[in-house]
Structures are given as C-alpha cells and as structure tokens.
C-alpha cells in the first residue's frame, strides 16, 4: 500500500537508429493498479515496453522502478526483480505440448508441480489440453498459456502487449477477466492495447500514446469518451 509508484517514466526518449520513436514519454503506474496504454499503430507502445523491460536503451529521460532510478539495467536483472513482459505474439513453443511449455518455466527454480497446479487452477482449459501441442491450440488458449507461463515467475509488474491481437471479442473479454483477477492478487499491470474497450473495462487508469508521446491520461471513462478524437485528431 505504498504511495511510491511501481513504475514512473519521465521524459523517456528512444530511437531506432536515427529515427526517434519515443519523444519524451511521461507515464506512471501506481502499485497494484492496472494501467491501459492505448494508441494507434506505430504510436510507440511496443517500443516503450521494450525500453521499460531493458530490451532497448532509452536515449534520454528517467525510469524509476519502485522509486529507484534505473539506468542501464539488463533485462535479466529486471526480470529477477519481478518485472515480466508478455510480448506481442505470445512466444509459446508451438511444437511442444502445453505441459512442456509450462515445464520450461521451471528453469527459474520454481518447482514444476507448483507451476502446473497454479496454471491449471487459473486456466482449467489448459489442463484439458495439457498434452496438446501448443501450436494446435486456438489463439486464446495460446494466450492463456503465455500468461500462465509469465505468472510462473511470480511477477510484481506485468507488461502485456496486445493481449487481444487476432482474437475474437468474446475470448478477449475472458482474458481481461483474468487480467482483472491477476490484478486482484496484487500484481501491477501495464497493458498495451490498440482496441480499447476491454482494456478500459479493467483499467484503473488509462493513457493514450500518439507519435511517441503520451497525449492524454486519466480515468478510463474520460479517456474512452475522448478516444476517437485522440486517435485521429492530430494524426495527419
């Protein structure tokens, strides 16, 4: 219940080569909160998650984690500290079974039984499918698997990139119910979405990115209201 945000970004900039993609991002994720980060294609959302998780250096600005200024920490240090990113495209191993995919998380030192028990309790569907090859499961099931695998590391801050990608609305709704449950258990979540409504439903705060900056932030209801104007307003 501390007031120190789990993540705070001030004026964060980053570039691919000479093309600046993040142009001074300010964003705060309070501890225990779900923050939805919205924005059109190419706004820089994925890039921002990469910078936060240490996959890409910031060229300027400050990143604070748990109130501590971080510079140049490696992804593995950050993940050890409890930060976990579920990337766009899920990253499950299609030719391994569900159970084998979960086994792979055991290298982190968490016993396999514990990983399996927790995953199956949260996603009974995965238990039914445990001997099925991950690649032959539906997109929603694969997304469940990648969430389950991420949770095996006991994260404190979860970064989710486009959970809804390629999934039917009903499935997306179900996944966001799970996101809400995960948040209930005390995990702070920054969720990136292009399609806003499900994410806004479970979010405590929302922010909109455009052209490498956060151009609006506030209550989900307010952001929802202004969304179309924000998405298309300035994007010439």
């Amino acid at each position: 219940m501390s007031d120190v945000p789990i993540l705070e970004l001030i004026g964060v900039r980053a570039a691919y080569g000479r093309i600046e993609v993040l142009r001074g991002v300010d964003l705060t994720v309070p501890r225990g909160a779900v923050v939805a980060l919205l924005g059109a294609n190419g706004a820089g959302k994925t890039t921002l998650l990469r910078v936060i998780s240490g996959l890409m250096p910031a060229s300027d600005g400050d990143i604070h984690l748990g109130g501590v200024h971080i510079s140049g920490a490696s992804p593995e240090e950050l993940t050890r500290a409890g930060l976990c990113m579920v990337p766009e495209g899920r990253g499950v191993f299609p030719n391994l079974t569900v159970e084998e995919n979960l086994w792979l998380a055991s290298y982190s030192g968490v016993p396999v039984e514990k990983i399996l028990a927790e995953a199956y309790a949260r996603f009974p569907r995965l238990k039914e499918r445990r001997r099925q090859l991950a690649g032959s499961m539906s997109g929603g099931e694969q997304q469940m698997l990648s969430l389950a695998r991420a949770l095996a590391s006991n994260p404190a801050l979860l970064l989710l990139d486009e959970l809804s990608m390629g999934l039917a609305p009903l499935i997306v709704e179900g996944l966001y119910d799970t996101v809400a449950e995960i948040a209930e258990s005390g995990v702070s979540i920054l969720v990136v979405e292009q399609f806003a409504s499900s994410a806004l439903r479970v979010a405590d705060y929302a922010a909109v990115m455009q052209g490498g900056r956060v151009v609006a932030s506030g209550e989900p209801a307010e952001i929802k209201h202004r969304l179309s104007e924000l998405y298309f307003g300035g994007a010439a």
Partner: protein
C-alpha cells in the same frame, strides 16, 4: 492513412526498386560467375543411431548457434540463422515431416535475395537484445548472426551440481553439500546435462563486390560444460575467411581452444590456449586417472586439423575447435552399473537427465566451434552472364605472391550447408576407437522403443527429432531464455545495479 499501411507501402516500393535494379556486383565488374557459401555452428551435435531407418549418417544432428550464408551470381542469396538448427532434414523439410503443409521449423530467421514474404531482406527474431537471430541480404552482402548470452547460470545450478564422487576421482577431497535442483526433471534438462555454454556467437557472411567475393564465418562460445562438467572449456573460437577474385582464391582461418579441464582438473594448454592450424595437434598429456575416467564414460576428445584447400579461384575450408565423441554404451553401463559411477560423478539430476539420450542413441558426437565455407568464382570475361556456377580457370596468374596453400586432410565433418537432406550419402561417423557394435545395440534399442507409450505409429526419427528439439529448447531457455519466460527467481544474494525487488513494497 495509418502509419502501418504507409510503412508497408513504402517497403513494397523499396522492394520493387531493388528488384528492378540489376545487381551492382555483376552489372559491370571484373567478377563474373560465382558461388559462395559459409556456415558456422557453435555446438554441433551429431547422433548416430544405426537402427533408425534413415539413409543418412548421422541419423540426427542439430546445431546450437547455427548460421549459414550462400550466394551465387544469379544473383540469388540466402541467409539462415537459428539458435537451434535441427539439421537440414528437419529444418528445411519440417512440413513434410510433420505432414502439415505450410508449416516451417519455428526457431529460425531467413533472408533471401530476391526477398520473399517469409524471407525478407532484413529479418530478426529476438528474445532479447543480445539474444537473437538476424539475417540480411541485398544480393551483395549476405549475412546471418546468432548471439546468445548466458544469463541463467547465476544462482541456478542448471546441471544439478557435481556429485561427491568427482573430486575423489580427480584426487581431491569430496565437497560437502553439493546441491541438486529440487525441481523434477523436465525433458529439457537432457541437453543441458550433455552440454551447456555461454556467450554463444555465430556469424556467416558472403560479400560480393565488383572485384571479388569473400566468405567469412566465425563461431565462438565461453564456459562450455560437457556431461555436467566432466569436461570444461573456458573458450572456443573458430574463424574462416576466403576470397576469390575470379582468378585466384585465398583461404585463412584457425581454431582456438582455451582453458580445458577434465573432471575439474586443469589441463595446461599454455598461456594462449591451443591454436589449431592445418597440421595435426596433440592435446597435452592427460593424467592416467582422467584418461581412464573418460574411457569409463565412453568419452573421447579429439582435435582434428583444419582443412583448407585452394585450387585456382576455388577454395574450401573446414575446421573445428574440438570434437568430443561419447559412446553411450559405457555411459549407460556406468549409469546402470552397481557403483552408479555416473550418478556419483554427475549427481543424480544430470544422470537422470541424460538417460533419454543414452537410451535413444549409441553414439553422440559434439563438435565445438565449427566453421566451413566454399567459394568459386570466374572473371567476367569468362562467363559474366551470371548464370551461376561457371568453372573458374585453374591457373593461378601472376599478381603479388600468388602462392596458394593446399592442405587437405580427410573428410571434414561438414554436415552443415546446402542440400543433402534425406538423400545424403552415408558418411562414416567420426573416427573413434570405440565404435559401438550394432548387433549388441539393436535389440536393446528396439525394446526401448517398444515400451514408449503411444508412439508406435510415429517414425522414430521424429521421436528423436522431437526429443532433441525439446531438449534443445530447454537448453536455450536455461542458458539464454530469461526474459521470454519471465526471468529467473530472485537471487538470494541480492540484485546488482540497484534494481529494487519489486515484489517487496
């Protein structure tokens, strides 16, 4: 309209532009036809299982940190990189093996010239920066890289610890409290018990300019552990550079090994390690106790000379840092024997992990640091129409000191490279004094297959492939996979560089 559409449209235009632009290299240059390939593999594992009904030998092979670049004067080019390449048979024939048309082996990046949707001019598959596979080709420069950091090791004893028996064999007092992992054995530990490494890098490049074609490859790794630490190497590296200007080729390259230990006992290799050139090299004398230990485990260490060959404008290179062959018969006996030597040696974790591999194949050969390449080119006036392989002239013309070294040593373990596939001619396995006897092996292996549940209808090579793949992916995850799966457990010793533990409020 939106940025993505614009971006893709832009790409399309760039693609067309490139396609309609005849290759700069061949348009008006002194270099005519050429074909070039280079490949590198940090750890190449060959599995010899004569029982498998495969018309190739080894019956299974895969490479950790595999890159390959090929180009010819079409111009066409391909760059391929893979953390874990299951060999051409499984890698390129994946859809046929799985019976699912359109599927392809997942752990790879490809670029082709001319580019295709699945093999764009620049391609990148990345778990994290520093842990990635990249490929690129513009028809002139074709390059593939694999890099893998070893980020798991810290605080996590992947191999289950060395058992108390090891120190005794090596003449040291046993260490109390040798730890083993508490987690049950996932399939994925198999390979980690067989071999692990850090700082894996592999690069293969073919470069074509107006006047010459150059092929280079490099493979390197550090902290290599074999059989749960029975053999350790601090570093291996192999490099190769070949050039040809259509008249004359050159080839240069060497392999280096540093910091060899056997059962924890350092074997002196001198200050700079051993540099392997084109003549045979003998490893320094290994103490008798260690030699007999290796023999008990069916392990043989070999240093093969590098093969370089130049004929006129044509060259080939084949080199490895170190070859370790494991006859799993003695290893199995050791595992099952009354003394359970292996369990003592490796700790039960690693021993159990190795069991599936031991059951499946009588012989496993590890080639550490492997690079190979071949080049052939002809001058423009001979056949500069760019139709692929034109036979280069075999005379070496004057020009500064054109002496070409030609040293050939037998066979060369080049299972990497183009074609081959299911119809490769059987090659003799790596020479070894302990060739397993097929007659003795066959019945046991068939028995093993028979008791595997539910796999009866599956071709055995697929089982092998699946096992190796699962094992390999496990290895990757253990050695290099942190971020994708959400990282390692909080280190008991605290965190470096001031990142606070976010789990604590």
């Amino acid at each position: 309209m939106n940025r993505r559409t614009k971006w893709i449209a832009g790409l399309g235009a760039a693609g067309l532009l490139t396609l309609s632009w005849p290759s700069a290299a061949t348009a008006d240059s002194s270099l005519g036809g050429y074909t070039a390939d280079s490949s590198a593999s940090v750890i190449h594992i060959e599995v010899y299982e004569p029982v498998l009904p495969l018309p190739s030998s080894p019956q299974g092979d895969f490479s950790i940190g595999y890159t390959s670049s090929t180009a010819d004067s079409g111009p066409t080019a391909r760059a391929l990189s893979s953390y874990l390449w299951p060999g051409t048979v499984i890698g390129d024939g994946f859809d046929q093996l799985t019976g699912k048309p359109g599927t392809s082996y997942p752990i790879q990046a490809n670029s082709r010239y001319p580019a295709t949707a699945s093999a764009p001019a620049k391609n990148k598959v990345q778990i994290t920066d520093g842990n990635g596979m990249t490929t690129a080709t513009d028809g002139n420069t074709t390059t593939a890289t694999v890099t893998g950091l070893g980020i798991a090791g810290k605080g996590v004893d992947l191999l289950g610890g060395l058992g108390a028996g090891l120190g005794q064999i090596a003449g040291k007092a046993p260490k109390p409290g040798d730890k083993t992992l508490s987690a049950p054995v996932p399939v994925s530990n198999t390979l980690a018990a067989l071999v692990s490494a850090k700082g894996v890098t592999s690069t293969s490049t073919v470069k074509v300019s107006d006047s010459k074609v150059t092929s280079t490859s490099t493979a390197a790794a550090a902290d290599i552990n074999i059989l749960g630490g029975v053999i350790g190497l601090s570093a291996i590296k192999v490099t190769n550079t070949e050039t040809s200007n259509g008249t004359k080729a050159t080839v240069a390259g060497s392999a280096t090994i540093g910091g060899l230990t056997i059962a924890g006992v350092p074997i002196s290799l001198g200050d700079k390690g051993i540099v392997i050139g084109k003549t045979a090299i003998k490893l320094p004398a290994i103490p008798a106790t260690l030699t007999s230990l290796l023999k008990t485990l069916g392990v043989e260490i070999q240093v093969a000379p590098i093969t370089k060959k130049v004929t006129g404008a044509t060259s080939t290179f084949n080199g490895q840092a170190l070859t370790i062959s494991i006859d799993t018969h003695p290893l199995k006996d050791a595992l099952n024997g009354p003394l359970s030597l292996l369990v003592n040696l490796l700790g039960s974790q690693a021993a159990t992990s190795l069991a599936p591999l031991i059951e499946l194949a009588p012989r496993v050969v590890l080639k550490l640091g492997e690079a190979s390449g071949s080049l052939s080119a002809s001058p423009a006036y001979v056949g500069g129409n760019g139709g692929g392989t034109t036979t280069p002239p075999s005379t070496t013309t004057g020009g500064g000191g054109g002496v070409t070294t030609t040293t050939t040593t037998g066979g060369g373990g080049g299972t990497i490279g183009g074609g081959g596939g299911l119809v490769t001619t059987p090659t003799t396995p790596m020479p070894t004094t302990t060739t397993p006897q097929q007659t003795a092996v066959t019945p046991q292996l068939q028995q093993t297959a028979a008791i595997l549940p539910g796999l009866g209808s599956m071709p055995r090579f697929l089982i092998l492939g699946a096992l190796l793949l699962a094992a390999a992916i496990g290895w990757l995850m253990q050695v290099a996979g942190g971020v994708l799966l959400g990282g390692t457990r909080t280190c008991a010793l605290g965190l470096r560089t001031g990142v606070p533990d976010l789990r604590k409020e």
